[in-house]
């Protein structure tokens, strides 16, 4: 199999995502079915694997030593295995699969879930702005307009304000929580 090196792949578009979905889901569905899983299990595992694939291809240099479909299947196997530690059927990992990893913090901690709920209710604008800066830079111009900033530069200045605002907000919440526990 040819080694494909994708250098900082552009952000995935919805039509591209749809194509990957159509090509890769059947393979993952067959794997999950063979492992004794349901349609819903397959959908959940596949969606997480797709998130991890999109994340990996947005890194500076993503070396894809296999096809996109095989990569997504490999990640799905790891996700399945993590979810079903006591599963009856053991998962077969090829050498290529073994090289793939799922970040240990992929599933958000209870604390992060709680903080995110709070931030979505109190500062969604800042969350959206920071998300664009770190994960969707090409969307920044459009977002700046949507959020009411005159241009990208104004949005850039706002970035650090948002960073500090959220940081201080978390700090206050943590202190309150500590007081509550005392």
């Amino acid at each position: 199999m040819e080694t494909i090196i994708i250098k900082k792949a552009p952000e995935i578009t919805n039509p591209e995502m749809e194509t990957v979905y159509k090509h890769s889901f059947p393979r993952v569905a067959r794997f999950v079915k063979d492992m004794g899983g349901s349609f819903d299990d397959a959908r959940d595992i596949f969606h997480d694997a797709l998130v991890l694939f999109i994340e990996a291809r947005s890194k500076n240099e993503f070396v894809l030593q296999t096809s996109e479909g095989a990569y997504i299947l490999g990640i799905s196997k790891h996700l399945w295995s993590r979810r079903n530690k006591k599963g009856v059927n053991s998962v077969y990992f090829s050498d290529m699969d073994k090289e793939m990893t799922v970040p240990s913090d992929y599933y958000p901690s209870v604390e992060n879930q709680r903080l995110l709920r709070f931030l979505k209710a109190s500062g969604k604008k800042c969350l959206d702005l920071l998300r664009s800066f770190y994960y969707q830079p090409s969307n920044l111009k459009e977002l700046a307009t949507t959020l009411g900033y005159p241009n990208e530069h104004a949005a850039s200045v706002q970035k650090y304000k948002c960073l500090v605002k959220i940081r201080e907000s978390i700090k206050q919440r943590s202190l309150m929580y500590e007081d509550f526990l005392k």
Binding site: N14, M17, E18, Y21, K22, F25, P26, A29, R30, K33, S38, F39, A42, R43, H47, D48, L50, V51, I54, E55, D105, Y106, P108, N112, Q113, L115, L116, L119, K120, L127, L130, R131, Y134, Y135, Y160, K161, L163, V164, I166, R167, E168, I170, K171, S174
Partner: protein
Amino acid sequence: MKTFLNNALLIEQYLQEKLSTGDRLLFEARMIVNPALRKDLNYQKKVYSLIRDYHRQLLKADIEAIHTKLFNDARNLEFRHTIEQIFKAV
């Protein structure tokens, strides 16, 4: 506020390993004498992890929308049929 902003910028550059060796050592020395700076750094790391979780959440919502479209759009009947066949009880 300006001091806060500079401190956020500096922390970001430190975490992204964008500081020169001299600036990095200076920053690390400042963290030793100023525990509040170390705390800010930890809280800022938390912000980055929350933004990443938020991004993943929205990405999953986009994927979920594609799923709904593929399974409800008449143009994708063949795809839907393939998946249904896989889970059909034997």
